[in-house]
Symmetry: C2
Subunit: 221 residues, 2 copies
């Protein structure tokens, strides 16, 4: 049986869960308090991060490397386009969300509001929260601009770039940090991806001490 060591609100773990779900690959989810650096977990991943996926007799870390592996070994349905130019655009946007969006938004909102409390590191730094709340506006505008020209973020088919963006936004939506009224294109895009069967497990997540808002799991939000 495949096994994913994860934490529910981690966008990197959610990306892997969404890719596995879309490809109908069964996986057992195991919550891992990675910040406690248990010796068993460090043996699985010396980087001491989640996600860690056990699959095909391998123990794998780094969400982008994991997703490319799953795509190569289980290509159906495809989440990477065929041409090098289109694949470049998927990887550029995957990098955009996992690097730039993560450092400017996810780490400033989710990590301040949730991770700090869960891991006993104290209270949110209000300067970070304010900076994240400001930065997400520009990112939503950028997504809206892309979606003005394309059906999905990286082109006319749904790809790993969409699941990467949706992983970050869904984690932020869990703590009510996404203004869905800012851009109609983005809201329509999220409604489409939120209704995928792969999304169900993510919409059922519950983090003790942080109940999700009513609209979080609602497909008509």
């Amino acid at each position: 049986m495949n096994r994913l060591y994860h934490v529910p609100l981690s966008p990197f773990c959610r990306k892997v869960r969404l890719v596995l779900g879309e490809k109908r690959i069964e996986v057992e989810l195991v919550e891992e308090r990675y910040w406690e650096r248990a010796p068993d977990f460090l043996r699985r991943n010396p980087a001491a991060k989640v996600p860690v996926l056990r699959m095909d007799g391998r123990t794998m870390a780094e969400s982008h490397a994991i997703c490319e592996y799953i795509e190569e070994v289980h290509p159906d349905p495809r989440l990477m386009p065929a041409s090098a130019g289109e694949r470049y655009e998927v990887r550029r946007l995957t990098g955009w969300f996992d690097d730039k969006f993560h450092s400017e938004v996810t780490s400033k909102l989710l990590y301040e509001r949730v991770n700090k409390k869960v891991s006993g590191q104290g209270y949110p730094d209000s300067r970070n929260v304010k900076a994240g709340a400001q930065a997400i506006k520009y990112h939503l505008d950028y997504m809206g601009w892309l979606l003005d020209q394309r059906r999905w973020l990286a082109g006319d088919t749904m790809t790993l770039a969409d699941f990467t963006a949706a992983a970050h936004l869904s984690s932020l939506d869990y703590i009510s940090d996404v203004d869905w009224n800012r851009n109609a294109n983005v809201k329509d895009w999220y409604a489409k991806i939120k209704s995928r069967p792969a999304f169900r497990s993510i919409l059922a997540d519950q983090v003790p001490g942080f109940p999700p808002p009513a609209h979080y799991a609602n497909l008509d939000f």
Copy 2:
């Protein structure tokens, strides 16, 4: 003519330069003071980061996406292995250096000592420099452990993982922050990769106000 907008000591730019060099793809280098956010540059890359590569009529950003594109369009010589499992390991290590090594070491040493001064952000924070100098030891040990079992970092052939690691280490070596005596495996590995023709342009870099140490360009260091 291909054109790369870069800064000389950026490990992400160096990775792209090394990949282009190894594949003998000619490129014109243009230094870009990205922190000044010139409108022309923001039009080329809304993420306001280097490297940006103009090639095949495309303007591309995000170093990992660029390197995978170059590999797909110019596969000779190969910098990615053939099997999905080996490719996973290359991407895991590329992520390790560009994410973990970058945040724990490169940003704490190079950015404190050089980038802050060049972009007028003041003096190094000695706590960061101390943390980076401590962290690089563990990373060199981890590399040494990998190289005990493999000829190159990700397996028995030279790959993108080696150029990614070498890009970070060469930038740190420019400011004398790598202790080559810590691990003989790592020193042997770096001597091999440093002698590639692709490395020549990087060893000739000169940053005004930061002369490199004598050993930096020496193949017998």
